[in-house]
Symmetry: C2
Subunit: 327 residues, 2 copies
């Protein structure tokens, strides 16, 4: 008997074609509420990027046959774990975005370290005074021989480490799993985190948003960092405490935060944060395009669908999430 | 007998200290015209970053003992070759800036490829529409698997190639000298240049401004490049024809030019070009800070002075320029 897959949003048709051999596909976008309610009890898997508002608690509670949710995104913090029965297996799409998001992270890091965003704006606003070239040269962070910190050492972290090594940086990583990789020092626990924060000249956040990483970087963590460090976020904004970061940026104009991810407002990322980050010279923000830059290439969708195919074929699923980290 | 060194501008005192054993140092900034004119005929070497206005043709013609000019800058296009007698040896400071300028070039390349400057501005001006994330994702240039072109393969070009390889790019180089380096294809001549222009997704200019490179990238060269290529200039603006580039940028909004170097106006680089580049979305400009970011570390000065010491000790000079390329 075929599976019944609820498709939450858009995936490439050529990938979905492979699914049709094993499952009937119900497309959320093409069903009215009545049609949706009629199929809920027979759905056994869901494939989705962002969790759809229409799949609220009531509806999820009616999905009594649900056994797998495959996320199209690398992060699964958007999945309503609290609504799911214990049997539901949730798979992330970790690794599907590694190269593209890693490249993007390095772009943010360099744009910040080399003061490119600020200098370009100064030149365009005719605000640049020639006499200050050497001063500005002093502001530019040279990466060679400096320390690159990475929090989280999955696919994105590994790509970032590769770039850091090519730039002649010493790479130190905070990760649950130790790594034996040459040229990478891997640390654990609170003391490990503090050492990474203290030693790094540039820090890239590349870990999932879980119960233990939410608010992980607060005032006391930021206070450990170098005065002129660069902090890059391609993970999730909520790993950082918004107010603590704002204070840090206001009090330390040489500290730069460069982010592609934003705090949530009304259930979605907002590009206008509650605090006036956008007015700060030492804040660089792009509207969460690193993931989409990977999506357009098709890689993440292929990977998500391939994992679902493993489910249909009775093979072991990859990227199964430890639900206790999210509940 | 000691040499007589004319110091055109500022170098670190700790470097100059080593010179005093071999030479008396005459500091241009501390002499009035009378004092300067009095020593010209006894000067045998000059150490300078930018060529000083006060050393005009008349004065240079009086420097009858001059045998070496050591440039503090990597490029020597600012040296008044036409005024120098045949015997004067001119040394560039090529290699002194490689790591820092290479890093900066990669920063410009990523800021352009990842649309970071434009997106940051859009977000800050509240001009970013959420619905267009995937569209923007489509605009973001993924570097992995793409082609990196480099014109000029000295120290800066080699650093850039190293970064390109770490990003998984195919590297093709246009250079007078062939290279046997793994993962780098080196081409020569007009056909070689055209192949690099045609094939590359990102192109970095890292060659000196000479008689043969001035205006080397004009309308027909730009026309060979991909519609959405990124062109990075950390060499000299004059390698590119200003008007042809302006047309290219206006006609091709997906083509991005990111530069740290500017065309000259009244003898110095001007951050307000004659054509309205600064109004273009696909123009990124920083006020020539890549060199200064190296200078503040002291590396280039050390290298320039070390070459002068070779002269004083009768050793063979490095980085001797072929004057026929500049005359």
């Amino acid at each position: 008997m075929k599976s019944k897959l609820l498709l939450g949003d858009s995936f490439p048709e050529e990938e979905l074609k492979q699914v049709t051999r094993y499952a009937d596909i119900y497309r959320l976008g093409e069903m009215d509420d009545g049609e949706l309610d009629a199929v809920l009890s027979s759905i056994d898997c869901v494939l989705v990027h962002l969790w759809p508002e229409r799949l609220n608690s009531t509806r999820v509670s009616k999905m009594t046959k649900l056994s797998v949710i495959q996320s199209g995104l690398a992060g699964v913090n958007h999945i309503p774990f609290g609504d799911l029965s214990r049997e539901v297996v949730v798979c992330s799409n970790a690794g599907g975005y590694s190269d593209e998001v890693g490249e993007y992270a390095w772009g943010l890091l360099l744009a910040a370290a080399k003061r490119i965003v600020r200098l370009d704006r100064d030149v365009k606003m005719s605000g640049f005074k020639r006499a200050s070239t050497l001063e500005v040269g002093r502001d530019v962070l040279i990466l060679k021989g400096k320390v690159l910190g990475i929090l989280g050492y999955g696919g994105i972290g590994k790509a970032v480490a590769r770039f850091g090594k090519a730039f002649g940086m010493d790479v130190i990583v905070f990760s649950r799993r130790a790594t034996e990789e040459r040229g990478v020092v891997s640390l654990k626990g609170r003391a490990g985190l503090e050492k990474v924060l203290r030693d790094c000249d540039a820090l890239v956040l590349a870990l999932p948003l879980t119960r233990s990483t939410r608010g992980m970087i607060g005032g006391s963590e930021l206070a450990l960092m170098k005065r002129n460090a660069v902090l890059v976020n391609v993970a999730r904004a909520e790993i950082i405490e918004e107010e603590a970061l704002y204070r840090r940026l206001v009090d330390n104009r040489d500290f730069v935060y460069a982010t592609d991810v934003w705090w949530m407002k009304e259930g979605r990322e907002s590009y206008s944060p509650s605090l006036p980050f956008l007015k700060l010279d030492n804040f660089i923000g792009t509207p969460h395009v690193s993931g989409p830059s990977a999506v357009v290439g098709g890689g993440p969708s292929r990977m998500a669908v391939r994992n679902l195919l493993r489910f249909f074929r009775g093979e072991e699923l990859l990227n199964v999430v430890d639900r206790s980290e999210y509940a």
